[in-house]
């Protein structure tokens, strides 16, 4: 099988770019810690309200951890609990969320916080809120008749 010289050059160039590209995202993910949300904790989807930390949704100050606050959400068709939260500017926050019924999305619009909520699983993402303002959280996975009404609000305040 014959391969044209130009095609060899083209493929060598392309594959080299690919290797560099994959190395960049690999280093970013595993060395710099920018892995996509992949929490492995499970929860009984029918006992979410009785299970810690979902028995107390909302923002909680924590001590002795790598983050300052834990922000707990319980999603169900078609709302998030809590519906509105104020977060102090500059706080390092671990967002912890799950769903009581079908699959929902958890997307803080305009940010990198974007994760699936699946029944039986806990989803987590740690981030620092370093810009003041209002942030809309929307459900971005179809969950039923009221899917487009399902939202929550985070206000980052000084």
């Amino acid at each position: 099988m014959h391969m044209h010289k130009f095609e060899k050059i083209w493929l060598t160039f392309g594959i080299s770019c690919l290797v560099i590209f994959l190395a960049v995202i690999g280093v970013s993910a595993f060395y710099l810690g920018n892995k996509p949300p992949s929490c492995l904790t499970t929860v009984n989807p029918e006992k979410v309200d009785q299970t810690k930390p979902f028995d107390k949704p909302g923002l909680h100050k924590v001590e002795g951890k790598d983050w300052d606050y834990e922000l707990v959400y319980v999603a169900s068709a078609f709302s998030y609990n809590p519906a509105k939260v104020e977060v102090p500017l500059g706080a390092k926050v671990k967002v912890i969320a799950t769903t009581k019924d079908v699959i929902h999305g958890f997307e803080m619009a305009g940010t990198n916080i974007n994760m699936m909520l699946e029944p039986g699983y806990v989803s987590e993402y740690t981030t620092t809120f370093d810009k003041a303002g209002e942030y809309l959280i929307v459900c971005n996975e179809y969950c039923g008749a009221g899917h487009h009404l399902m939202s929550s609000m985070i206000e980052v305040v000084k």
């Binding site: 099988m1 014959h2 391969m3 095609e7 083209w10 493929l11 392309g14 594959i15 690919l18 590209f21 994959l22 995202i25 970013s28 993910a29 595993f30 920018n34 892995k35 996509p36 949300p37 992949s38 492995l40 499970t42 009984n44 989807p45 029918e46 068709a77 078609f78 019924d101 079908v102 699959i103 997307e107 619009a109 305009g110 940010t111 990198n112 974007n114 994760m115 699936m116 699946e118 029944p119 039986g120 699983y121 989803s123 209002e134 942030y135 809309l136 929307v138 459900c139 971005n140 996975e141 179809y142 969950c143 039923g144 008749a145 009221g146 899917h147 487009h148 009404l149 939202s151 609000m153």
Partner: protein, 555 residues
């Protein structure tokens, strides 16, 4: 001799009938699915509401099922069935019978699923994620569609196998080889969706079991869901590689490299489903990244394809005396719908592919996951690159099969159609991409999200999508006019089924390409490697199962 040569360049009329049966279903799906698409963009603009209690998510389900599953599967099977017939000298009676059974099983399945959607018993979108629980007839209908497509594919494989037996030691005709690669990939991929439907969703919707393992079901779905998009794309590649060179009057750049790229697509399309599940819990991030690497391997055959296509254009142009770096570009047959319609699709694949790289880029996916960016992405890949190529194919294939001719008027209308489509899609898909970057979610009806400032910024983009959607609907009306004309009214005559020849016909493709044990073995090994450990993890660490929910609006 003359007779058999003539018979070879024409699809057997008995095969033509079955292909046309597929196309009638495909274009009916396009008509209805296109109307649903128009209605969606109008609803989401916020200026209009659906009448008579019709629900946004119901028409969204209709649009997705008809466009993503019915139009594509019926068109692809009809096209590949004709391509195999044309290049092998026709199907046997047994293969033809198998094909017809497959067609009817698919059609019955489609009607079963459609009925449940119309009754609002299955507003679960075309991805039907558990624990949304549709009526069991919906799942059974989908099973029929898949099983029917297996039979349809078996017909192509039977004819390919017969050709191989009659021509020992010969590489099979390129188009038949490509059709069989795509069919084999489809069969391996649909095993995943068949497993979740048969072993999880059907027993659960029938009430035989109470709960379903959501993550197992999603993982099986996406094992199927990504090769699904390559199942759509490869028939377009068949046209680009093996048909377009003939239409422009050129040659295939390299028959062997075309085969190699199809084999690479078979190997690297399947063990990659996790890149659709990057933001979900319960899957180890190392395995996600591993599948991301495998996902990116398809860059290699994609680069090979881009090179071959443009090399074959350039060589043709230079053979016509074109000079300069890009002189060859001007001499391409820009007035021929059979060329320019797929060419616009080809060109659209450049931004479409670039967007795909972003989607699959592990953590970068968080920026766009489940935003309307993704919808914009696959309206460039599937709904522009692939579909325009399918339209371009039908402009010669339909008259070829019905014994008619593509007239000058229809040729011109075809070119206008493609530009209308391109303009409409630039508005719609462009606006979707931008809105997605701002965080606008996909699959959502019009909403102000309680008057949120961010949501207000999305609305102008949604209006732009409605403008684009309306232009696209005009494009659908045009293509239906052309299709009906070519099927029933165009003047009788002989329309060529173009099949290109390789530039160096004496250079035979290595026979190792037809070694199915080898390629299926590597395919299976890659799948087992990519899925075994994470799948065992998912099952062993599974939470209690989910009972079913029906959260959509009912009649």
């Amino acid at each position: 001799m003359v007779n058999s040569a003539a018979a070879k360049v024409k699809v057997d009329p008995r095969d033509a009938k079955l292909s046309m049966a597929h196309f009638f279903v495909a274009f009916s799906a396009l008509a209805l699915g296109g109307l649903m698409g128009l209605l969606q963009t109008l609803v989401r603009s916020g200026k209009w509401e659906l009448p008579w209690g019709i629900d946004y998510y119901q028409i969204l389900t209709v649009h997705g099922v008809l466009m993503g599953l019915v139009l594509t599967t019926f068109f692809i099977m009809g096209f590949q069935y004709a391509a195999v017939s044309r290049t092998t000298g026709g199907h046997s009676n047994a293969a033809r019978r198998t094909g017809w059974i497959g067609f009817w099983v698919m059609l019955i399945g489609t009607l079963m699923a459609a009925t449940m959607v119309l009754l609002k018993e299955a507003s679960v979108l075309y991805t039907f994620y558990a624990p949304l629980k549709a009526h069991w007839i919906f799942y059974l209908g989908l099973t029929f569609v898949v099983v029917g497509s297996w039979l349809d594919g078996a017909a192509q494989i039977m004819t390919y196998a017969r050709w191989r037996k009659n021509n020992p030691g010969q590489p099979s005709p390129l188009l038949s080889f490509m059709a069989v690669i795509n069919t084999v990939m489809w069969i391996v991929a649909t095993l995943g969706v068949a497993a979740t439907v048969l072993f999880q969703l059907l027993p659960w919707s029938l009430g035989l079991v109470d709960t379903v393992d959501v993550l197992v079901s999603r993982t099986l779905f996406w094992y199927f869901g990504h090769p699904l998009v390559y199942f759509w794309l490869l028939p377009a590649y068949m046209c680009w590689y093996a048909i377009i060179p003939k239409i422009i009057g050129g040659k295939i750049f390299s028959d062997s490299l075309a085969r190699l790229s199809f084999i690479l697509f078979l190997l690297f399309s399947i063990p990659v489903g996790f890149h659709h599940q990057l933001t979900e819990p319960g899957i180890d991030p190392a395995w996600k990244f591993f599948q991301v690497i495998l996902t990116f391997m398809v860059v290699i055959p994609s680069l090979m394809t881009a090179f071959s296509l443009f090399a074959s254009f350039e060589r043709y142009g230079r053979s016509k005396g074109a000079t300069g770096l890009f002189g060859w570009f001007k001499v391409l047959p820009w007035g021929d719908a059979r060329f320019i319609v797929p060419f616009i699709g080809m060109a659209s694949f450049i931004p479409a592919g670039a967007g795909g790289l972003i989607n699959a880029s592990n953590q970068m996916d968080q920026v766009v996951h489940n935003t309307i960016w993704v919808t914009g992405h696959f309206h460039l890949t599937l709904a522009t690159s692939v579909v325009l190529t399918f339209f371009g194919i039908s402009y010669w294939l339909v008259p070829h099969l019905t014994g008619r001719k593509l007239t000058k008027a229809m040729n011109k209308l075809g070119i206008i159609q493609a530009w209308v489509w391109f303009i409409g899609m630039t508005f719609m898909s462009g606006a979707m991409h931008f809105q997605g970057l701002l965080g606008g979610p996909r699959r959502s009806a019009f909403s102000t999200y309680g008057g949120a400032k961010q949501a207000a910024e999305w609305i102008p983009y949604q209006v732009a999508q409605a403008v684009g959607g309306s232009i696209l609907f005009l494009g659908i009306i045009l293509v239906l006019i052309i299709f009906i004309n070519l099927a029933f009214f165009a003047p009788k005559g002989e329309q060529e089924f173009p099949v290109a020849e390789a530039e160096n016909p004496e250079e035979k493709a290595p026979m190792v390409f037809e070694n199915w044990k080898l390629w299926l073995g590597i395919t299976a090994a890659l799948i087992l490697f990519a899925y075994t450990i994470p799948f065992i993890d998912i099952i062993q660490n599974a939470p209690p199962g989910s009972k079913g929910f029906q959260t959509w609006s009912k009649w």
